[in-house]
């Protein structure tokens, strides 16, 4: 009985106490990192292996679906993908379904300065924002230039040599999605044209992506900041995602610590009253 009153009192606790607790628990390991080891999941490895198998001159489409709000989840992975593909000598076409995609593109350029040294129009193109979701992806598969008559900077697509080699789905060696929006690539590019699809999902999409991974519709997958940290480990370039992992550990521990005692009285009563 005495236990219950404590639980009751905790139940009525001001929610702000929980909020402050979470701030402290995140900030602490960021200021003094612990550096717990990270093991790599097979799906992340499959993605990385796919990237390293790209041949020189292959064209890869990279959909930066993430808005600036999901940078903490996916920017780390996008950096690794970009670096790896540049190493392989792939030609890169970037685009995005989020209105702020140009900001993500700038940020990517800050984080991968090498991107700026590639020859624009020949080795890399930034097409910019598109809307229309599935209809757009389905249309792009047939004719890129009808959705993008010009790139983000206003250069007519005909003046970009790379795009004349890569105007329809069959010209692409791979599609990489970022954060979300994977379904349209699977359904409109992967399934009808056999273009290999893979990418980074925000953690929330981990479950949504698992059946596609199991059915082979996508060949590789890195999930959330954890997946990004795994990619950073595989590529041997620890960065932001790796740093965040300690804060992930501490917050997740707090989360479980909060759930367990809240449920103890229920389980106790069930066992006592139930049987």
């Amino acid at each position: 009985m005495a236990n219950q009153t404590i639980f009751d009192r905790l139940d009525k606790l001001d929610r702000r106490i929980y909020y402050w607790l979470i701030v402290i628990v995140i900030a602490w390991p960021l200021v003094s990192p612990i550096g717990l080891p990270i093991t790599v999941k097979p799906s992340s490895r499959a993605l990385y292996d796919g990237l390293t198998a790209v041949q020189e001159g292959d064209v890869v489409l990279i959909d930066i679906f993430m808005s600036v709000s999901t940078w903490p989840e996916c920017m780390g992975g996008l950096v690794v993908e970009t670096n790896t593909l540049i190493d392989r000598g792939a030609r890169l076409v970037y685009l995005g379904n989020s209105v702020d995609v140009s900001r993500s593109w700038e940020r990517l350029n800050e984080l991968v300065p090498r991107l700026g040294t590639l020859e624009y129009g020949t080795d890399v193109v930034f097409l910019g924002y598109y809307t229309g979701a599935d209809a757009a992806a389905s249309q792009m598969a047939v004719d890129m230039s009808s959705i993008f008559p010009a790139d983000h900077f206003g250069t007519p697509i005909d003046d970009l040599p790379l795009m004349s080699d890569a105007n329809s789905a069959s010209d692409y060696a791979m599609v990489l999605f970022t954060a979300e929006g994977e379904v349209k690539w699977i359904q409109q590019w992967g399934e009808p044209y056999g273009v290999p699809v893979a990418g980074m999902g925000i953690a929330m999409k981990g479950s949504a992506l698992a059946p596609y991974l199991a059915s082979g519709d996508i060949f590789g997958l890195a999930v959330g900041v954890r997946g990004a940290a795994e990619l950073e480990k595989l590529a041997g370039m620890p960065a932001a995602a790796t740093t965040t992992m300690d804060a992930i550990s501490s917050t997740h521990l707090l989360f479980v610590i909060l759930i367990v005692p809240a449920n103890l009285p229920i389980i106790y009563n069930k066992i006592k009253g139930g049987s």
Partner: protein, 208 residues
Amino acid sequence: MSFVKSTAFKYIPILVFAVIIADYFFAIASLGSVAEVLRQFAVVISNIALGLGVISLLRIHGRNVQRRLEGRWQYSIVTIITFVTVFILGTINANGAQYTWAFNHVYTTLQQTMYASTGFFIVSSAYRAFRARNIDAALLLIAGCIVVFTNAPIGEVIWSGFPVIGDWLLGPGQLPGYRVLMLIAGFGTIVYAYRVITGNERGFFGGE
């Protein structure tokens, strides 16, 4: 005229739908180009329609200001001024220094902050809301906690079994359940398409 106003548009979804679907199944060149034009139209229309939200926004906040709504109208002015200023800056030059600054430091920050705020709620809910009320909820919470300890490196430190069970859950474990959710969502999409093209789905066209 009343036919045009109240009835004729009801046949358009089924026509457009038929063309797109036929193009998906049959390889007919002429059909393909019609479908292509329609898809392109949809992209343009949805682009222009992005401005609808702006009109609603300006109407709501304009009305707040007009009526001097207690405790709200001053904030509505802030919204309107912010909108107008940034819109003008962006229209003049979307690559200009001022617009870029507002984009990078105000928009980016607020967008990320707003998005992240749900992190707070999940923590208080952890203690005050998530309960193993029955076997179903208990199973959900146990699976959830194991995944939590699989995603966080600390789980492995606590017990090396967490990532083993967790990886199974993240792979085959969740597969049948999630697969069925996908299947029924897929079946649901077909029902929904049928209801819309046969005019059984109310709502869409407003005032129906």
